[in-house]
């Protein structure tokens, strides 16, 4: 119970403090509005399905991804900067649970940013939004949220070791928009790159959302659902493994508080 309390406390602390930062505010408020406007204009002349997929959900998913990217890497860096990294690292509840709470806290803002971009696009462009299978869409969004939490967790583990976390974070943000089919159909990418995209869980989540929008049944999306669940589990297991490794490595190499 105390571990759950700590995860909730960490999520709540993160939820309160992260929105106080101008950069994060831009990520979860400014960026959804901007992306919604830009993508809305790009896809204005396209079909209702394309508009729904890439303007409505594309803007939401891309801002969610940005908030995860920024949270997982820079939160560890920020804890270093605050001088709190050592305190939370050695807290009896365990560092990995505290970090998990932080990523959940940021993900709640990520879900908010999806809602915001959705509202902006719907209200401003007055286009018909197509959602053929609502239950499949909800399954897809739920699994995508879990999966992005798992990715954030994995990044946080790796970035605990590195002082170059911010550079890595910036490097990771934009390729995922392109590689995972968030902003335009994955089929437009060369085959070789497309196969690499399936290592990234947002690709699978985007596929489920596309099927939901086009009205496919839950059964027809089952391969993508299983794929997303499996890849999310792999991310989670890898994250836990890396947290165990870094517990030793950062104390041996003295990287815990190195900026």
């Amino acid at each position: 119970m105390s571990t759950i309390n700590a995860v909730i406390a960490s999520a709540s602390q993160q939820f309160k403090t992260s929105i106080g930062r101008p950069m994060f505010r831009f990520c979860v408020i400014g960026q959804p509005i901007l992306f919604g406007l830009i993508l809305g204009m790009i896809y204005l002349e396209k079909s209702n399905i394309d508009f729904t997929l890439f303007a409505v959900f594309g803007s939401g998913l891309s801002t969610f991804w940005s908030s995860i990217c920024f949270s997982s890497a820079s939160d560890i860096h920020r804890e270093r900067w605050y001088g709190t990294l050592e305190t939370i690292y050695s807290a009896p509840v365990g560092f990995k649970w505290i970090v998990l709470g932080k990523i959940i806290g940021n993900s709640i803002w990520g879900v908010f940013s999806i809602g915001l971009s959705f509202s902006v696009v719907v209200l401003l462009f007055q286009r018909q939004i197509i959602i053929g299978n609502l239950s499949l869409l909800l399954v897809g969004l739920f699994l995508m949220t879990l999966s992005l939490i798992a990715i954030g967790y994995l990044f946080a583990a790796l970035f605990t070791l590195s002082r170059n976390a911010r550079i890595m974070m910036n490097f990771m943000e934009y390729p995922v928009y392109i590689l995972c089919g968030i902003l335009f159909p994955l089929e437009q990418l060369p085959l070789l790159i497309r196969s690499f995209a399936y290592v990234l869980s947002p690709t699978w989540a985007v596929k489920i959302i596309h099927l939901a929008v086009s009205g496919s049944s839950l059964f027809s999306a089952i391969n993508y659902i299983v794929g997303l669940v499996v890849i999310t589990i792999i991310y989670g297991v890898l994250a836990v493994y890396f947290f165990e490794k870094i517990d030793v490595k950062c104390r041996v190499e003295a990287t815990l508080e190195v900026y």
Binding site: S2, A9, S10, K16, T17, A91, P92
Partner: protein, 265 residues
């Protein structure tokens, strides 16, 4: 004689650094060159030494934040590297300065958060946090954001944080750095009160008067080696004898004499 609560034997720590941009050259820096000391329950033990002497490295190892390169560092009889889960719930630490707090949260929210990650049951938290805030004199400003606190207030909040888990040992790394005389005196009184409650305190400081007033024993560390370990009076007597002086030096004079001596083992 009580059993030691901290045992350090032949403790060494080296850091690997890289020099140069393109043709990187690796260099090993020895921060600790095999130090030995013991700390007993209820003791205020001081680690004095110039910058870069190895004080913080020693504290980092004992607080389970850094691995030793060789030798042993044991706290409550457990290895600081390898058995850290048995140590962490029973210790706490304050590293100097104003950091280690969330400035955008209130003092109260900081303590609530740390209480949760220190696994303090929620039922106990309200009373415990209120008591600690009253003890450090921050109860009336508990709802203010930490960023509005003075340096002394932040340091007091750090003390409250460090006491949340009722630690048996508290590590203080230059806790009075940057404090005004009134805040520094308050801090000294708090450290004394902790010792009177039976807590063990391991303290590093550059303020000799503070060390003289507080510490039961002091280890002087220089270039990664302990060059003297004794009570304050013992250290002064040693220097008095070495200098063949009729006057007893103060701790600052004794300290400067000790760290100026070449190659003392």
């Amino acid at each position: 004689m009580k059993n030691p609560i901290i045992t350090v034997q032949s403790l060494k720590r080296t850091y690997l650094t890289h020099i140069g941009l393109l043709n990187k050259e690796k260099k090993l820096v020895e921060a600790l060159k095999g130090i030995d000391f013991e700390v007993y329950p209820g003791e205020i033990f001081g680690l004095l030494g110039p910058n870069g002497a190895g004080k913080t490295t020693t504290i980092k190892i004992l607080t389970t934040l850094l691995a030793p390169s060789s030798g042993q560092a044991k706290v409550f009889g457990f290895k600081a590297f390898g058995e850290e889960k048995k140590i962490r719930p029973r210790i706490n630490f304050i590293f100097g300065g104003e950091r280690s707090l969330y400035w955008r949260l209130s003092g109260l929210d900081n303590l609530k958060y740390f209480a949760d990650i220190y696994k303090i049951p929620r039922k106990k938290q309200t009373e415990l946090i209120d008591d600690l805030l009253k003890e450090v004199g921050l109860y009336d400003v508990r709802k203010r954001k930490v960023e509005t606190y003075s340096k002394g207030m932040k340091q007091k909040l750090q003390i409250a944080r460090a006491l949340l888990n009722d630690p048996e040992i508290i590590f203080l790394d230059e806790p009075s750095i940057g404090l005004d005389p009134v805040a520094a005196r308050t801090l000294k009184n708090m450290i004394r009160a902790l010792s009177e409650k039976g807590k063990t305190v391991l303290l590093t400081t550059h303020y000799m008067q503070e060390a003289e007033e507080l510490c039961h024993r002091i280890a002087v560390i220089n270039h990664g080696q302990i060059i003297a370990l004794d009570t304050v009076e013992g250290l002064k007597n040693r220097v008095k004898n070495e200098q063949n002086s009729s006057q007893m030096p103060n701790l600052e004079d004794a300290y400067i004499h000790l760290i100026s001596e070449p190659n003392i083992a």
